[in-house]
């Protein structure tokens, strides 16, 4: 037969355990209640449908930028082949055999002259390795009259960028550089020559297909391209 204090202690322990179990059941009930509220709340509402549609649209936009970039690269590769063929043609036209056969070709008439290419107001510059990122993707169909390209860059050899510009089809648009990019510096570490590596350039986008290069001036001297690509500007939607 157990003593009375022992019985009391057992009863207290049993009550405590029951209370703990009750608290746990209460907490589990509330956790389930929240889950059910969530399941039958927003997930069945129009807002949730709109969220899903928005997410799908963002995904589609990202995919189309990727497709566009891939197509751009393919076209640039084809453009390279065309340039090689044109060089080969020029070499043939400069050859002795071509000059000797000129009288015979004139009997059949001169071929139509090729359309003149766009004269670049600014000669293309050389490239250089840069660490860079463009906040506004240039891989797009340009439907507005102008576009603001924003990003950051620094040459991998540690020299300073002193100006940034965009060259689109030979037309040059000066940009603004020296913009703070604290997150970038936090991630990549201090860039002594380029403590504010951000830039932005607004350039016009005349209808048609153009070469676009983002260029940086190094230490006030030579210009080097950071990236270049081909872009399309659609006149229909203007």
């Amino acid at each position: 037969m157990s003593s009375q204090p022992e019985d009391t202690a057992k009863q207290v322990a049993a009550l405590r355990a029951e209370l703990e179990a009750l608290r746990r059941r209460d907490a589990e009930f509330r956790a389930n209640m929240v889950q059910e509220f969530l399941d039958h709340g927003e997930r069945n509402t129009y807002v949730h449908v709109l969220h899903e549609e928005r997410a799908a649209l963002i995904k589609r936009e990202q995919e189309s930028f990727r497709d566009l970039e891939e197509l751009t690269r393919k076209l640039e590769a084809e453009g390279g082949k065309v340039a090689a063929l044109q060089a080969e043609l020029a070499r043939i036209k400069g050859s002795v055999a071509w000059m000797l056969s000129a009288p015979f070709r004139s009997l059949g008439g001169e071929p139509a002259a090729a359309p003149a290419g766009q004269t670049a107001a600014h000669a293309p510059v050389e490239g250089a390795p840069f660490t860079y990122y463009l906040h506004t993707s240039p891989f797009r169909i340009y439907r507005q009259k102008s576009f603001k390209l924003r990003g950051w860059a620094w040459p991998q050899d540690g020299r300073a960028v002193t100006a940034v510009r965009v060259n689109i089809g030979g037309r040059v648009f000066a940009g603004r550089h020296g913009i703070e990019e604290p997150e970038v510096i936090a991630r990549y570490g201090p860039q002594p020559a380029n403590p504010r590596p951000g830039f932005e350039v607004t350039f016009e986008t005349p209808p048609g297909r153009h070469s676009l290069s983002v260029e940086a001036q190094i230490e006030g001297k030579e210009w080097r391209w950071i990236m270049r690509t081909t872009v399309w500007c659609e006149p229909e939607a203007r």
């Binding site: 746990r24 907490a27 956790a31 969530l38 927003e42 969220h51 913009i179 604290p182 997150e183």
Partner: protein, 238 residues
């Protein structure tokens, strides 16, 4: 009112609107997992994320307490830096964030954890959650990115969703600490027209205390933490 004055007013409301566009701001900042971690925690490696989370959980233990039967809600959970380890110490952890993109990283980091639920908030507030449901609601490293009205909105909402007797925790950085002043001066250096919408803004001890008292919390305490943050805690009366 003159046309010029109306225009100025309109411009001003656009600027304030940008900071209020929390969903857009944080969806943009969270595009990449590393970028998201950097934006919410200031670092990207998992070991440091875990270490800082443990530090915060210790703070919760000594301020509000955390128990194995607690149903917990984090407001602005980001990538679930805190939620991932905290879910091992509570019954169920709910992470709410206004950025769906941020939550996609949180989902990746908490995959396989059975007592974790992530909820995308449609706008400022906790309208997705029922009343009287949680034992503990906390919000850390979030208030600095919110306007004062929205900070208070979350405090009011925390009161609604907490069960009677439930506890809350909110923190921010004050101006009168070395760290707080350096954050303030760093932000002050941005050109006015280039201030990012997520720039950190401080709180005073009085501000946090008033929010909690006005919302109806009892036992309100505002403390200085060792990491130079200030934290307000309170209890929903029974």
């Amino acid at each position: 009112m003159s046309a010029d004055a109306k225009e100025r007013m309109q411009e001003s409301s656009i600027a304030i609107g940008e900071r209020s566009s929390y969903k857009r701001t944080w969806d943009l900042l969270a595009q990449e997992p590393d970028q998201a971690a950097l934006a919410v925690a200031g670092h990207t490696d998992e070991a440091t994320l875990e270490l800082t989370a443990k530090g915060f959980i210790d703070t919760l233990r000594t301020t509000t307490g955390v128990g194995p039967d607690d149903v917990v809600l984090e407001i602005g959970c980001g990538i679930a830096r805190v939620g991932k380890p905290l879910s091992r110490e509570c019954l169920h952890w709910f992470g709410a964030d206004i950025s769906g993109v941020m939550l996609s990283h949180a989902a990746e980091r908490t995959r396989g954890l059975p007592n974790v639920t992530l909820v995308e908030l449609a706008t400022v507030g906790l309208q997705e959650f029922p009343r009287d449901a949680f034992d503990l609601v906390y919000c850390t490293i979030v208030f600095m990115h919110l306007f004062e009205w929205d900070r208070y909105r979350y405090v009011e909402e925390a009161f609604r969703v907490l069960r009677p007797g439930g506890r809350c925790y909110f923190d921010n950085f004050p101006l009168d600490s070395k760290h707080g002043w350096s954050v303030f001066m760093e932000s002050a250096r941005y050109p006015v027209e280039r201030r990012p919408s997520h720039l950190s803004m401080s709180s005073s001890r009085e501000e946090l205390g008033i929010y909690l008292r006005k919302a109806g919390f009892a036992d309100v305490q505002v403390r200085d933490l060792p990491n130079e943050l200030i934290a307000a805690t309170g209890r929903k009366p029974d």
